[in-house]
């Protein structure tokens, strides 16, 4: 599966309080959550970003709380992929569980905001302006999960098997 989109750059340690501040967590509505995505550092981001755009970030993206509202807010804006130097552990699991794929690669030091990048999820190859970068391959177990339609799809199959 290949994704192509315009880059929005964010730095290191973009934590979940930045991705979606806690004061909005009483809501579970993806649209509402998306409209506050990245508010503390880039209040205009939800208005300016277009569906298909890609987030490129530094290290430790998604650190902090376990709130699944974070990947939900990102996906609600139509962002199909986040590429970061590294991801916090709980966010990594949550994103895949919610069907938001992530790639671990150092693209941050290579691209400019507004550049167009192309990423092949199955090989992990990211292309930008003729330069190719190999992301860490997505672990086979995560790929299995995605094939099953995320963790909930996987669980549903298990429950159907029991009936």
């Amino acid at each position: 599966m290949t994704l192509k989109g315009k880059v929005w750059k964010f730095g290191d340690n973009i934590d979940t309080d930045i991705i979606i501040p806690a004061r909005y967590l009483a809501s579970t509505d993806p649209k509402e959550l998306g409209s506050h995505c990245m508010e503390p550092v880039a209040p205009d981001f939800p208005k300016k970003v277009a569906a298909g755009d890609i987030i490129v970030a530094g290290s430790n993206f998604g650190s902090g709380s376990s709130r699944e509202h974070a990947p939900i807010a990102i996906a609600a804006l139509g962002i199909p992929l986040v590429i970061a130097k590294s991801f916090a552990r709980i966010f990594y699991r949550n994103a895949f569980n919610k069907g938001l794929p992530l790639l671990e690669a150092n693209l941050y030091d290579v691209v400019k905001e507004g550049d167009v990048v192309e990423a092949d999820l199955s090989t992990g190859i990211v292309t930008c302006g003729g330069v190719q970068i190999a992301a860490k391959p997505i672990p086979p177990f995560m790929l299995e999960l995605i094939d099953a339609g995320g963790l909930i799809g996987y669980l549903r199959k298990q429950l159907e098997g029991q009936r």
Partner: protein
């Protein structure tokens, strides 16, 4: 090759003799936890997957602690949904109202976690229970639903990093100073995907409240879990609390570690993490003169009885500085009651503090102590990210209860020695 305590617990719950770091195992869980923010998403997934029951009605816990007493209509609706779900599916451990406390203070106190358990919680500070020698980690709401339904989940066995602590604890130094020191040393992603293991003589003289406080912030170094050895202090703590069988695991002498650090705790002075990262750690003494508008003493990190005692010892006979709001939040009803009986409340009220009911409140910028633009708080909580306690241009400095109380009196960041 020997195994660490974390590896042994995961192996036992996966019916395996041996596991090693990097492996993915399917393990049984002993407890699944969610709160008023994360449970609603879990319950949506529960419905979506078509589940009809939870794996064990005694082992699913819901704590309504973040936005309660309900701060607005959506928060009230969330609690209502979870309450109705709990009734429908016979969940024993649903906590709200006067029974409710901050989850990671409440669960150990109620004896819901024992040594050797595997616990998942839809809250990143679920790592707190490592203080009891349990493997305990934060997950998202979807992972929690999977655990609630199947009684199991998949885990990647983490590598371990060991912190061997020796020496004698100095006055006013607690588990919070130790963990802030560690995070300052290794950074906010220093233990990414790893288990953070505490060891050494100095650990055996550390109180249970301090261990809970230190394990609580393992996530702030990116760790999957934080874990303490089980000793006399642990067994004394759980004796009248944990009702179900538990198993004590200890790390083998030849267990493998990614890294081993030695810490001489006698050299530790009071620590403060400056904005906007928990790793931005300095000695409190270096920060004298930084004015504060608010002091918060509470949360799942430092809202326990030891913290209330330390705050009361410092505040006794003093007044909170003019223009400073000092908010004290005992983390559970039992801690609240004990603080009252021990006379701490009198000290707090005489000093001009505000005593809040048990809640997460200002810790996550929820309610009960939000900061305005440009305001600054010293806080015994665990995160000082941009906007964590309110306005994106406000600031949070993290410390233990002694520094927070001393600072409340001085109106600026202060070392406890300046008061006591």
């Amino acid at each position: 090759m020997g195994m660490t305590i974390t590896e042994k617990i995961l192996a036992a719950h996966a019916d395996r003799e041996y596991v090693e770091p990097g492996e993915i195992v399917d393990a049984r869980i002993d407890l699944a936890l969610a709160n008023d923010i994360t449970a609603p998403l879990s319950l949506q997934e529960f419905a979506r997957v078509g589940a009809t029951k939870v794996f064990d009605t005694e082992r699913v816990v819901f704590v309504m602690d973040h936005f309660t007493p309900n701060k607005d209509i959506p928060s009230a609706e969330n609690c209502k949904t979870i309450r109705e779900f709990s009734k429908k599916y016979g969940i024993t451990h649903f906590y709200e109202g006067g029974a409710c406390g901050v989850e990671h203070a409440l669960l150990p106190e109620k004896g819901l976690v024992g040594p050797g358990d595997v616990v998942i919680g839809a809250d990143s500070h679920t790592c707190t229970y490592g203080a009891l020698g349990a493997f305990s980690t934060g997950v998202g709401s979807t992972d929690l639903t999977y655990g609630m339904v199947t009684g199991s989940n998949w885990f990647k066995v983490p590598e371990s990093i060991k912190f061997v602590c020796s020496g004698k604890w100095q006055p006013w130094i607690t588990g919070k100073d130790l963990i802030l020191h560690i995070i300052g040393m290794i950074g906010v992603d220093g233990a990414l995907y790893a288990s953070l293991e505490f060891a050494g003589d100095a650990i055996s003289t550390l109180s249970m409240d301090s261990r809970l406080s230190a394990a609580n912030m393992a996530i702030e170094a990116g760790a999957k879990n934080g874990i303490f050895p089980v000793d006399e202090t642990t067994l004394a703590y759980i004796r009248d609390r944990v009702k179900r069988p538990y198993q004590v695991f200890q790390s083998d002498p030849d267990a493998r570690y990614r890294e081993v650090f030695e810490i001489d705790v006698s050299k530790l002075d009071s620590k403060v993490a400056c904005p906007f990262l928990p790793s931005n750690v300095k000695d409190a003494k270096e920060l004298k003169g930084i004015r504060i508008d608010q002091a918060v003493i509470g949360s799942c990190t430092n809202g326990r009885l030891e913290d209330m005692r330390i705050a009361a010892e410092i505040l006794k006979g003093h007044k909170v500085a003019k223009d400073v709001r000092c908010i004290v939040i005992p983390a559970t009803p039992a801690i609240y009651y004990e603080s009252l009986k021990k006379g701490y409340f009198e000290v707090f009220l005489d000093a001009g503090c505000i005593i809040s009911p048990p809640t997460c409140g200002p810790c996550l910028g929820g309610h009960m102590g939000i900061l305005a633009r440009g305001e600054r708080s010293i806080s015994t909580t665990n995160r000082n990210f941009v906007g964590r306690m309110g306005h994106p241009e406000s600031e949070v400095y993290l410390s233990g209860p002694a520094v927070a109380a001393a600072s409340a009196i001085k109106g600026e960041i202060a070392h406890p020695e300046e008061i006591a």
